[in-house]
Symmetry: C2
Subunit: 171 residues, 2 copies
Amino acid sequence: MESSATLPLSQLPFVYPATPRSNKAYPFWPCKRRSSLPTRLRCNKMYVPGFGEASPEAKAAKHLHNFFTYVAVKIVAAQLESYNPEAYEELIEFLGRHSLNDGDKFCAAMFRESSRHKNLALRIMEVRSAYCKNDFEWDNLKRLALKMVTESNTRLMTEYVLETSHVESEK
Amino acid sequence: MESSATLPLSQLPFVYPATPRSNKAYPFWPCKRRSSLPTRLRCNKMYVPGFGEASPEAKAAKHLHNFFTYVAVKIVAAQLESYNPEAYEELIEFLGRHSLNDGDKFCAAMFRESSRHKNLALRIMEVRSAYCKNDFEWDNLKRLALKMVTESNTRLMTEYVLETSHVESEK
């Protein structure tokens, strides 16, 4: 399943069968080319619609931003659990009442809860900044994601082939 | 809010006020050190609990993996919309019945729907692999996430200060 984004049709026999097997079978890629190619195609990248003025990278960064807040809450909770059970209880109680899906909303709400919660929120914001800048392994993230897509694609195809071979042999 | 993960207490006067204002005020960091530091602290990284045998990077990679499937579906749908309305309709109809939250489950279900859907699933899997390997801008993701955490922290604090200044001035 590894292929370049600009791979021509002729190199994809598996995905694009040469001989359609039914009237409803269709090629997934057109033979003729568009006369006016979008900008993303001109620079050899696939056109990704539906992100408005943002980009997929910006959307992924927003997801990661919320994830870093979640990680920061975990880090701060673990620190407090050992050394400050009172603050730990307050954090857990606040977590029970507020969703962590939107990290910024969570911090904004915590800021306004009480002066003690404000200090907790400041600590979480400080930790998410330090974590994202110093601790998070960006190269590892890329390596794991590339590995995951290759392994998942192979696994999905293998499972399907094994399943259909099994059905065939039972007939 | 920019600080190192190993910043000493003395450099954080804002987060750790020197003079507690009430009986319930508490320091968020202990003065004494643990005698047995976890491995992550030994290598100057903050200890992140709750990820079991996985890591935050693996969890983030799994999120991104599902995101790449979502992007691949968008790319394939946009391609089909212009050139193969019949396949486009089938994809949209399938999307209405199946969640894209788990990309692998989505592809596995599509594989088993019909032989035409199988080809669609193969196309989506091929596109997510190519997108993640060639098109996705990993450096840009990191740049945007770092920018987002700094800007969000500044914005949250500014909003709070402006809000409380406003309340104070009204008294």
